[in-house]
Symmetry: C2
Subunit: 223 residues, 2 copies
DNA sequence: GTCTATAACCGGATAGAC
DNA sequence: GTCTATCCGGTTATAGAC
């Protein structure tokens, strides 16, 4: 019997993570010490380090788990909606709503996010996996819609929409309005703008501009 | 005789900052300890803290100083150039070129930059001053050019171009190509795109989209 | 009121034994 | 895979000098 995953270790790991997230939510990231996490999970500090390279890596684990949760909430809602604008709104709204309990320390994410040396930054190789899964979701958003998108743009769109989502999240992190009113406003309006931009960009008149923009992306890809 | 500013204290402060920046450049931010900074400047640790609230505040001071340096290099070069695209390129190129010696630890900037709680974040009240000065530069870039810009867009353009600049800087931070080749490519191409977007947005056909976009900005301003 | 010094605190991280 | 003991560096308390 192979118990590689479900053995005691995995259980300890799970409990450490669960406790850490709870403490982060309750007291915020900075005010939660590794000693507290260890105590809450009933282990020693170095044991925590055995399972997680650093305090920030606990955040990475959280990041993964919100993505899973997001998918679970988002995907079913997409099923009965074919309009691109609405589909985008659903994706973004569910994103910030599932992340809401962690709003207080989500800034931390972007903090490390911006550090090129951190493995946690969303552009890094280490984050490739989560990034790909998010980008894939964006691809499904587009492909599942009835929007007509030029082939050249369609190739790049998922990546661009992922950037768009990152921008929305950045805004959300800085948003302290009631019920994140301002972020909801942002999503409502920009989803429409983005959709219109996509449809306009198909027009003959806009082809040169679209080609330049896509050419730029292509250029930037090579080192 | 009032020697509030030029007395010994100011000199100490200057020397601490100079030493800190040198160490940051040579060894990077993380590997430079406050004790080293103090030693190098010939003062004690608590003395460093007397002049700078925290290690991050040393970075803030650096940030200010790069802005001053940028202006000194950028403004003269703008004098003989009336094309908006070229003017944008000048501003952005000089920005990343004057910052080049600090590329290694510039990530740190964005790291704190993205944390909503940090006074160093470029959207914070504490950063209003530097932000305004940067935005003013963008206003001069536009106003000093021969580009025709609709009045409603002109009002928002400096802020938007500042955001554009932040995006370029973010790209630069993650750029480890030789001579920042990729960032230079990005600047070269996007300056043209932005300029074209501005000019296209004046077209009658594009007025509705432009209005929506500007309306969005207006909406987001209110809390 | 401006500045400097000593010593300690606190929390993230690690070494190494078992 | 878990523990004990320790390091290391940012930060602060406190006390006093100019």
């Amino acid at each position: 019997m192979q118990t590689v995953k479900t053995s005691k270790g995995a259980e300890t790991r799970r409990s450490i993570l669960a406790m850490a997230l709870q403490l982060f939510r309750e007291r915020g990231y900075e005010k939660t010490t590794m000693r507290m996490v260890a105590d809450a999970a009933g282990v020693t500090v170095s044991n925590v380090y055995y399972y997680f390279e650093s305090k920030e890596h606990l955040v990475q684990a959280f990041y993964d788990s919100t993505h899973v949760e997001h998918l679970a909430v988002c995907e079913p809602m997409l099923e009965n909606e074919a309009g691109l604008e609405k589909r985008l709104q659903i994706a973004l709204r569910t994103k910030i709503e599932t992340a809401e309990p962690y709003h207080g320390f989500a800034g931390l994410l972007f903090k490390t996010a911006a550090d090129p040396k951190s493995p946690l930054n969303p552009f890094s190789d280490a984050s490739e996996d989560v990034r790909n899964r998010s980008t894939d979701l964006m691809a499904r958003i587009v492909d599942g819609s009835k929007a007509r998108v030029p082939a050249d743009l369609r190739r790049e769109l998922p990546g661009l929409l992922w950037l768009y989502q990152m921008a929305v999240i950045l805004f959300w992190i800085h948003d302290d309005s009631d019920g994140r009113r301002r972020t909801h406003r942002l999503i409502e309006k920009t989803a429409g703008l983005v959709t219109r931009l996509i449809s306009i960009s198909s027009a003959k008149l806009m082809a040169p501009l679209r080609k330049s923009a896509l050419g730029l992306i292509e250029d930037l890809r090579q080192p």
